[in-house]
Amino acid sequence: MDFEWTDQPEKAGSSEQDREFELELRRAMERRPAPPSLKRRIMQKRSSQRTARQRTTVIWWQRLAASLLIGAVLAGGFGWRQMEERRKGEEAKQQVMTALRITNQVLNNMNRKLAEHDRSDNGK
């Protein structure tokens, strides 16, 4: 079966009745006026949606700012802890070095006294 559509029905052998039917159909399908309240409702809904969208945007920015702040605090805390550990390590190292220096000095003194003692023994 041929379902080919044509914009010129008269050339496709369509009758006066067909054209009349199409004319009637075109008349029946004229645009209908929209309800008078439609535009007002659209504008109201648009306005409330925009407000809601703006509120959502503000909430997202707030969330982002809070996340950044928490991230910064955590990173700062982590950094401070690392620095503190390094400082304590450095301090312990200095203490060990001081202890070693003291020990070295004591040993040197003892060594010197022993040498003096040996010398006095040999002189006798």
């Binding site: 559509w5 009349e20 399908m29 645009r31 439609l38 535009k39």
Partner: protein
Amino acid sequence: MAQRWQPDFEQLVDEHQSMVFSLAWRMTGDRGLAEEVAQDVFLELDRHMERIESPEHALNWLRRVSVSRSADALRRRRVRGVDLWVEIEDKHGAPVEERQSPLETRLEQLLSTLPEAQRAALVLRYQEDLTPEEIAAAVEAPLATVKSNLHRGLKLLRAKASTHLKEFIRGL
């Protein structure tokens, strides 16, 4: 360099609300649903305003989205299990528009009983006066399918009219 067209939402609503509402009403067969669809279509337009390039683009966009959203609304309603055709019978039983003749009202009733694709093609053809090529672009379907839908739809509508509207149409 040509200045870019700046769409004015309120003006677009003024210009096209009748077209969008009529398309939605004829596609859904339900005035209330058509008002909801028209609202949704314009709100969607508001979200897409920056992509609208010209008045013609706005008109074509509104036609395409109106048909598509009407079909979606009908599908949603079918899923919810509402017997649309019973509703349409009820609604069309009452006087719809005072300016409409009984024949026009009955023709619209018959139109609402056609399959969705055929109904869309006929509404775009006879309400919007679009060519099959323009309809194909509006419903995003192949031209051959649109032509077939127009032909089948018109044939079916005429057959229904010859059964139900004998008293109105001469020569049927």
